[in-house]
Symmetry: C2
Subunit: 244 residues, 2 copies
Amino acid sequence: MKNIMLKVSYDGTNYSGWQIQENAITVEEKITEAIYLLTGERVKVIGSGRTDKGVHAYKQVCNFKTKSKISPSKFYYHLKKYLPDDIDVFYSKEVDMDFNSRFSAKSKTYIYKIMNTEYMSPIYRNYYAQIDYKLDFQKMKEASSEFIGRKDFTSFTKALEENINPVRNILDLSLYKKDKIIYIKITGESFLRNMVRIIAGCLVEVGRGKIKKEEIPLIFAKKNRKYAGPTLTGSGLYLFDVKY
Amino acid sequence: MKNIMLKVSYDGTNYSGWQIQENAITVEEKITEAIYLLTGERVKVIGSGRTDKGVHAYKQVCNFKTKSKISPSKFYYHLKKYLPDDIDVFYSKEVDMDFNSRFSAKSKTYIYKIMNTEYMSPIYRNYYAQIDYKLDFQKMKEASSEFIGRKDFTSFTKALEENINPVRNILDLSLYKKDKIIYIKITGESFLRNMVRIIAGCLVEVGRGKIKKEEIPLIFAKKNRKYAGPTLTGSGLYLFDVKY
């Protein structure tokens, strides 16, 4: 038995996210099917974390256990053939039997992309959130430090499931801008559901002057989702990297 | 009777190009259908030119004649509702009865996008040509002037249909680069079939050292498609503007 780790990149547009679920097509399902077609084995694929409907991944990491004799470093190459053209496995290797893509992860980095233009062509509809009112990028940049550190993110997540610890440790949050695109790059040990999309929504509220930097600690203190601004669309979100 | 001009932006990924054809879904067809649903009229929509399968448009211009009482400047707004989310009509106005989107056009500008990276995520598969060997951007830039002017482009088009004049006037061709993306921006009075994609392919051959700048006049002189390099994918091509 071997434990194989894969690096995967995908366009999330046509998927109901990562995690296998009934009556919906997911990335995990497509990879699980491809492994079955290649090896004949029904395996459990463990991802570093769920991505939501429409969310993309430059690099998602997953692993599974197999009896296959295929060379671990070539696994990715053979698997490609069984995957649709919006999912690409670009790396594989053998890892220790106790490696778990989810629990072994030290940090994850997401990028959120906002197109700040009056008009956005439908060419970009699945890859950016469009904000058509003018955003003050400098104010957004200044406010970003408020999210860094170990904090209770109850105000910045979808209704918490029971027994979920709402404390998360954000290691870095940086903003940069190229032409009309604002990029929010955020690294954390782990994230709550919709957390990056809500933080992005809160920063947009800062950019349009509805929320001030000084108010963000108060929003944290409220522990109530309704003060933090909107949840931006999944299509603007990209899983960028996972570190082990 | 009124002559209405529309400005349209579309993601060409899911279409067999602009022009209506049997057994294929096209952008022209979708717009013609939307006009029918809005006005009850079966009109002929005239586009500024065909775009091929998978080619995108930041701005395509078309026109049609209608007896509809809808205000010409609001036409686009009502039409939006009958269009799929990858086609957007963003402007409309009444024009002279003899305005013809194709024959009245003074020039068209296309942009071709090349991602020059070893690996390209499937996120980008429908929007860039990927070239994985290193391109010498400076050489490509230097060679670009060879295409400007009134020339016989027989070597740079798909097999010419009968009675087509192969002489075309290229007004401008400029290259620029941001990060790993090379943009080729080309303006001409009109273009032959596949002409931009073949010029892009020829410039890639220059970038990898297979064709020299000095050889390009010889390729023109051959009047033979086989010397000009490959036809790059339609998915990297964008109709950017049409001037009247």
